[in-house]
C-alpha cells in the first residue's frame, strides 16, 4: 500500500507541475495520500494506538 501511496503522490506532483489548472484534483489527491498514510500508521499500531508507556 505504501507503493500505491507513492504513486498517488507522484500523480499529484505531476499535476502540480504539468497541469497547474487542475488544482482541485491535485489537492484532492494530496488529501487522499494524507489519509492513506495515517491509515497505514494506524494499521501498524492498531494493537495499541497510544504509546506503550504510563500516561
Amino acid at each position: 500500500m505504501e507503493f500505491l501511496n507513492f504513486l498517488l503522490i507522484l500523480c499529484t506532483a505531476w499535476l502540480l507541475w504539468r497541469r497547474p489548472e487542475r488544482e482541485r484534483l491535485a489537492f484532492g489527491l494530496l488529501v487522499v495520500s494524507c489519509v492513506l498514510m495515517a491509515l497505514l500508521f494506524l494499521a501498524g499500531t492498531h494493537t495499541s494506538f497510544v504509546p506503550g508507556v504510563n500516561l
Partner: protein, 489 residues
C-alpha cells in the same frame, strides 16, 4: 516584520529542498548503501515528511492559502504524534539499544519525530513573516529553483516508490514490523500483511485494571490445587482502635512485637503488641512527589516502617521524637507529630512489569524486600520480586512452580490462578495468602517452588499476613485478624 513575498517564497523552497533531500532522499541512500529498510511506522513517518514537502510545493505554486497551511500544520502535529508513538517502543530500552542502526547517534524514528516538531516551528516562523497581502500578491510563475525542487521531489518520490515496491509489495500488501534488508534481487523480497493481525486496542498491554481481590472466588475447592490439607482459623483478634478506612496491609515486628497497619485512605498506624493502642499515626499525601495508588502492604525494615501501594510505589517513615512539623507538612495530610518521612520511591520490575501487587514482605536474612504480583487479563503470572534493602533496586525475580507432592486440579491450572494479598518471610520460606481460593502457599525462596499449600476456609477478604511465633495472623479488610496455626512442612 513581514518579509517580501519573493524572499519568503525562496525561503520556503529552501525548506522544501532540505526536507526532500536530507531525511526523505537520505533514507533511500541508506537503503542503497546499508540495505536499510523502513518498518511500517517508518514508512508512514517518511511519507508524512514527503507530504509536507508537497504541501510546500503547493504553496510555492498557488500561494499561502489557508487550506494548505492548515494541512501542513495537521501533518506536523500528526508527525509529532507518530514520532512519540514509534519512539515509545524503544526509548526506555537500555543504553545504546534501539531498532535498526542509529544515524548520527540517533535512531531514525526519533529523527522523524524531531523533524516534524521542527516543521511546526518553521511553519510558525513563516506565518510570522507572512505579509497580509501575500495571498493576492504571491508570484505564481515557475522559477528555475521551483522547477529544480519539483524535479528533485519527483526523483526522490520515484526512488521511494521503487524501494516500497521491493520491500512492501503492491496492494494489498503493507509494510512490516520487522522489515528485511533491502535487495534488488526479487528472490529476497518478502511481501506480507501481518501487521493487520491482532485485535484493536487503545493501550494494548497497558490495559491493566486495578486489582480487586474481593471479587475473586474464595472457595478452596475451586482452586488450581486438588486434595489440599486444611489449616483452620483458630480464632479472631481485632485491632482495638478504630481505623480510618479499610485495613489493606499488615505486618508485625518480630523484635518488639509491634504491629504496622495501613488503610485504603493512606493511613499508617504503628500499634503496640496488643493491637489496642496507637503508638503513631500518619496519613500520607498520595499526590506529593510520587503517585501512591491504594496502600496495600506494610513491612518492618529495622526501625523503618515501609508501606507499599498497588503500583509498586513505596514510602518509608520512622518514629522520630525530633520530627519537625514544618518539614513534614508536605509529606503527611495528618500526623501525630512524632513521625518523619525518610523516603519515597518506586520499585522497578522486569518479570512483574505491567502487573500490580497486593502484598509486601521483608526478608531479614537476605536484607531484601519482597512483592508478589497479581495476575490481570493481560499478564497472567505470579511473580515474586526481590529488592535490595540498600538501594531498593531489583535483585531477582522468579515465577514459583508447584513443587512435588502438589496435585493440580486440571492441566491448565497454575500458580497464576492465585491472587496473593499478604506475604511474610519466616524460616527461609515466603508464606503467602491468596484471597482467591482462600489458600496459604509456602514458597521456598531457594528452590523457587511452592513446597506446600493449605486451604484456609472461613477467611473474609484477607489483605495482609504476619507471623507471631508458630501462628500466622491473617489481616482481613474489616480490621479483624484471623489466627491460623503456622504449618511446618
Amino acid at each position: 516584520m513581514a518579509l517580501p513575498v519573493a524572499r519568503l517564497r525562496s525561503a520556503l523552497l529552501g525548506v522544501v529542498l532540505v526536507l526532500i533531500a536530507v531525511p526523505v532522499g537520505g533514507a533511500v541512500l541508506l537503503a542503497l548503501v546499508n540495505g536499510d529498510s523502513p518498518c511500517i511506522l517508518c514508512w508512514a513517518q517518511r511519507t508524512s515528511m514527503m507530504l509536507i514537502a508537497l504541501v510546500g510545493l503547493f504553496i510555492v505554486r498557488y500561494g499561502p492559502r489557508p487550506r494548505y497551511i492548515g494541512l501542513a500544520v495537521l501533518l506536523g502535529a500528526w508527525g509529532v504524534f507518530m514520532g512519540l508513538r514509534h519512539s515509545a517502543l524503544h526509548l526506555a530500552r537500555d543504553i545504546g539499544q534501539g531498532f535498526s542502526a542509529p544515524f548520527f547517534g540517533v535512531h531514525t524514528y526519533v529523527w522523524a519525530g524531531f523533524i516534524h516538531w521542527v516543521v511546526l516551528g518553521v511553519i510558525a516562523v513563516l506565518l510570522f513573516l507572512l505579509p497580509e497581502e501575500a495571498v493576492a500578491t504571491w508570484p505564481r510563475q515557475a522559477t528555475r529553483a521551483s522547477r529544480f525542487a519539483m524535479g528533485l521531489f519527483m526523483v526522490v518520490v520515484g526512488a521511494n516508490a521503487l524501494q516500497a515496491f521491493a520491500t512492501t509489495g503492491p496492494p494489498p500488501f503493507i509494510g512490516q514490523g520487522d522489515p528485511i534488508r533491502f535487495s534488488f534481487n526479487p528472490k529476497h523480497w518478502v511481501w506480507a500483511d501481518e501487521e493487520l493481525d491482532g485485535g484493536m486496542s487503545l493501550r494494548g498491554a497497558w490495559t491493566v485494571p486495578q486489582p480487586v481481590a474481593s471479587a475473586t472466588d474464595p472457595d478452596p475447592a475451586h482452586g488450581p490445587l486438588a486434595n489440599l490439607p486444611m489449616s483452620t482459623v483458630t480464632g479472631h483478634e481485632r485491632i482495638g482502635v478504630p481505623l480510618d478506612g479499610a485495613l489493606t496491609g499488615f505486618a508485625r515486628d518480630p523484635a518488639t512485637g509491634r504491629f504496622l497497619a495501613v488503610t485504603d485512605r493512606y493511613d499508617v498506624y504503628l500499634l503496640d503488641s496488643t493491637l489496642a493502642r496507637v503508638l503513631h499515626h500518619v496519613r500520607l499525601d498520595p499526590g506529593f512527589s510520587i503517585d501512591l495508588s491504594t496502600l496495600t502492604g506494610a513491612a518492618f525494615v529495622g526501625d523503618t516502617l515501609a508501606v507499599l501501594s498497588t503500583n509498586k510505589s513505596y514510602a518509608l517513615v520512622e518514629p522520630d521524637p525530633n520530627a519537625q512539623e514544618r518539614l513534614e507538612w508536605r509529606h503527611f495530610l495528618e500526623t501525630d507529630g512524632g513521625v518523619s518521612e525518610v523516603g519515597l520511591g518506586r520499585f522497578q520490575t522486569v518479570r512483574a512489569h505491567q502487573m500490580f501487587v497486593l502484598s509486601f514482605a521483608f526478608d531479614p536474612a537476605a536484607h531484601e524486600l519482597i512483592t508478589v504480583s497479581v495476575p490481570n487479563p493481560r499478564h497472567k503470572s505470579l511473580v515474586v520480586s526481590r529488592f535490595a534493602r540498600g538501594d531498593f533496586v531489583l535483585s531477582s525475580e522468579f515465577e514459583p512452580a508447584f513443587g512435588p507432592g502438589l496435585v493440580t486440579a486440571a492441566l491448565n491450572r497454575s500458580p497464576a490462578d492465585y491472587v496473593i494479598t499478604g506475604a511474610v518471610v519466616a524460616d527461609s520460606a515466603l508464606y503467602a495468602i491468596s484471597a482467591a481460593y482462600s489458600t496459604l502457599l509456602v514458597i521456598d525462596l531457594r528452590s523457587h517452588t511452592i513446597r506446600a499449600a493449605y486451604a484456609v476456609p472461613g477467611l473474609e477478604d484477607p489483605t495482609g499476613l504476619a507471623v507471631r511465633g508458630d501462628e500466622l495472623l491473617v489481616a482481613e479488610r474489616d480490621g479483624r485478624i484471623a489466627v491460623v496455626q503456622r504449618p511446618t512442612p
